[in-house]
């Protein structure tokens, strides 16, 4: 089949070895010239950021993994349309934000389906027993303070509104500028600033005991 032949040819095109690493722009050009290897490098260069943003948006690894992977699939299929008006990273982040947004909606629906009330006692064969919440305060295995803090912060992030979470992640974890953020999120800088403000205040409430 001609199609598979083309694919084979594409794979043969290698990225020439060299000392310095390639820029995104160079890799994109190589990819558009037919190098699959260039795409792989692009993925390797950005996977960590992509995965982590998705994880921080969604709060669980399974969905984060799906979203990050799908984002790169989209990159692969749309790279020829990428005009370079923004940086590749901005473009990638925008894809992730959109995918994560959709995924988040799905997750919410899923959660609502599964929601179980704590007031509804679990019924066992030998009678009734109230659902127990494990008391984690005195759990010796979790003595690692920093890990605990990390989890608390992640938990707090999960509790704030998704659009607030997005701005916090992009601003304070990824360290992006307002301009980049407005490109990624598709809203005005003013909106982003006020969201950021509210987000920090919300987090402050949720993290009170750590402050």
């Amino acid at each position: 089949m001609t199609v598979s032949k083309e694919t084979d040819i594409k794979r043969v095109v290698q990225v020439p070895e060299r000392e310095s690493s390639y820029t995104d722009g160079e890799l994109i050009r190589l990819f558009l010239d037919g190098s699959e290897e260039a795409f792989n490098r692009l993925v390797l260069a950005h996977q960590k950021k992509a995965y982590n943003i998705a994880f921080k948006f969604l709060g669980n690894h399974e969905d984060a993994n799906e979203v990050a992977q799908d984002a790169f699939v989209r990159v692969y299929r749309n790279l020829h349309k990428f005009r370079g008006h923004s940086s590749f990273q901005t473009w990638l982040y925008r894809i992730i934000v959109n995918l994560a947004r959709n995924r988040y909606r799905k997750m919410k629906r899923r959660k609502e389906d599964k929601k179980v009330s704590l007031d509804n006692p679990l019924t066992y064969e030998d009678g009734e027993s109230n659902r127990e919440i494990p008391d984690e305060t005195f759990n010796p295995e979790r003595s690692m303070r920093s890990k605990e803090i990390q989890e608390q912060v992640e938990g707090a992030l999960e509790q704030i509104a998704p659009e607030h979470r997005q701005v916090v992640v992009l601003r304070h974890i990824e360290g992006l500028s307002y301009t980049e953020m407005s490109e990624i999120l598709g809203c005005a800088e003013g909106t982003i600033k006020s969201r950021l403000h509210r987000a920090r205040q919300e987090l402050r409430e949720h993290l009170r005991e750590l402050l």
Binding site: N52, H61, N65, Q69, R77, N102, I173, L196, R200
Partner: protein
């Protein structure tokens, strides 16, 4: 300055975007104001906590999985090659194409329904799009994988299994075989299966070419013509009738104008699948059609419009149903057809000339024919991209036929012959509104 007024400045301070003067003001204020100092410290700490979050490690086979997904996705687009004409326009500059694409078996059908009912707003953004069915090419058959839209530049969009919007270029589009070719294929297949002799096939071919010729001339070719042509109806001759309708479509298309009549192609496409209750849209298979004709020669086909085969068949079904009900056991075949259940869901594409006016009239028809609108875009002031969302109508089975007939003929009958309307349709195509009729169980 009150603390409240300081609030925005605190934020700016935190972001490090204040002028020297402002910064000094803030610093001076927090020296004196305990509350503001506390707030600022806490906010700083929040930022610190958030930004010190550790990065999660990427799953080890991340790249491999991405590659696997890429390949899977590519494979779909590489295999999409059968583009089947649906509402079709042969523009002067575009020699051909308009398109129907295709999809996969039954399980996808659910997605398709979801796509059409729920996500049409997302899909119908562009003006010159054309609804298509997307199918994979598989040897001699097509495997439907989705329904969506295709644009002039051959990019197509459809919903895939997990509901995400797919977009790709259908670069391996192959124009569906000509009607004649398809007809001959069919004859050969039938011949192989031993259901007729070579001379019969030759005769059919002749009939076919005569009909397609007539079709090209855009003359009124009615099914009755065919019936009178044949002395006694056979299964294969019934097939000729349906081909005939297609031939007529073809004729219209070759005139270079857009018509909404390309839908009869769907009839054929669906006819193939009519055995599956989920996709059958009340289309009769050749065999059933045959029985029908046997039972009521000449009773059908008062239509002279090219491409109204859907309607025609529906009319026939209706008539037959009446006949079947009136005449009892004496007309076994007709009675049999009458038993054929009306499909649970039927789609009609109503050509639209003036959105507000037509929508109003369509709604009037629905109301008059005892249908209940279950879903439609709110009013005529809806945004451009929401305008052509499908209307979902519920109706009791007993009113179905009349509702169907009225909707199917709307705008086609009244305006089809005015050159102006045809021209307009050609310019503004595909201005159609999809009406999905869902049969309501009368038992409820």
């Amino acid at each position: 300055m009150s603390c409240k007024e300081f609030e925005p400045l605190l934020q700016g301070y935190l972001e490090g975007e204040l002028s020297n003067e402002e910064r000094e003001m803030v610093e001076k204020h927090i020296e004196d104001c305990k509350a503001c100092r506390k707030e600022l410290d806490e906010l700083k700490r929040v930022v610190e906590l958030v930004s010190s979050l550790e990065e999660a490690p990427v799953p080890r086979d991340f790249l491999q999985e991405v590659r696997a997904k890429v390949e899977e996705r590519q494979a779909i687009w590489q295999r999409i090659r059968v583009i089947w004409a649906r509402p079709l326009r042969l523009g002067h500059s575009f020699g051909i194409l308009a398109i129907t694409v295709v999809f996969l078996g039954f399980f996808v059908w659910m997605n398709v329904r979801e796509l059409v009912t729920k996500h049409d707003d997302q899909l119908s953004r562009e003006d010159k799009q054309r609804p298509v069915t997307i199918a994979l090419d598989r040897e001699e058959t097509e495997e439907e994988i989705g329904e969506g839209y295709m644009y002039k530049d051959k990019t197509a969009r459809f919903k895939d299994h997990d509901g995400s919007l797919e977009e790709g270029t259908v670069d391996t589009v192959r124009i569906a075989k000509s009607e004649e070719e398809r007809f001959l294929d069919n004859s050969i297949a039938l011949e192989k299966s031993g259901r007729k002799t070579g001379s019969e096939a030759a005769q059919e071919k002749e009939v076919f070419s005569r009909q397609s010729h007539r079709g090209r001339d855009e003359e009124a070719v009615t099914t009755t013509d065919v019936i009178t042509d044949g002395k006694e109806l056979t299964e294969t001759q019934t097939e000729i009738q349906s081909r005939d309708v297609i031939a007529k479509d073809k004729g219209v298309k070759e005139e270079g104008g857009y018509t909404n009549d390309g839908y009869s192609n769907i009839v054929i496409a669906n006819g193939k699948k009519a055995t599956s209750p989920s996709v059958g849209k009340g289309i009769l298979t050749a065999k059933e059609e045959d029985k029908e004709k046997d039972s009521q020669p000449g009773a059908s086909a008062d239509e002279d419009t090219a491409g109204e085969s859907v309607l025609k068949e529906r009319d026939e079904l209706e008539d037959t149903a009446k006949l079947g009900a009136a005449a009892d056991s004496g007309m076994g075949a007709a009675a049999k057809v009458a038993e054929k259940p009306i499909p649970k869901e039927t789609r009609i594409y109503v050509p639209i000339e003036n959105y507000t006016e037509d929508l109003k009239r369509v709604n009037e028809i629905i109301k008059r024919e005892k249908g209940t609108v279950a879903y439609s875009a709110k009013d005529s002031r809806v945004k451009e991209d929401e305008k052509y969302q499908p209307i979902i109508v519920r109706v009791d089975e007993k009113y179905f036929n009349s509702l169907y007939k009225n909707l199917s003929t709307y705008n086609r009958k009244t305006q089809k012959n005015t050159a102006q309307f045809q021209k307009k349709l050609a310019v503004t195509s595909p201005q159609t509104i999809t009406v999905i009729i869902v049969i309501e169980d009368s038992a409820k």
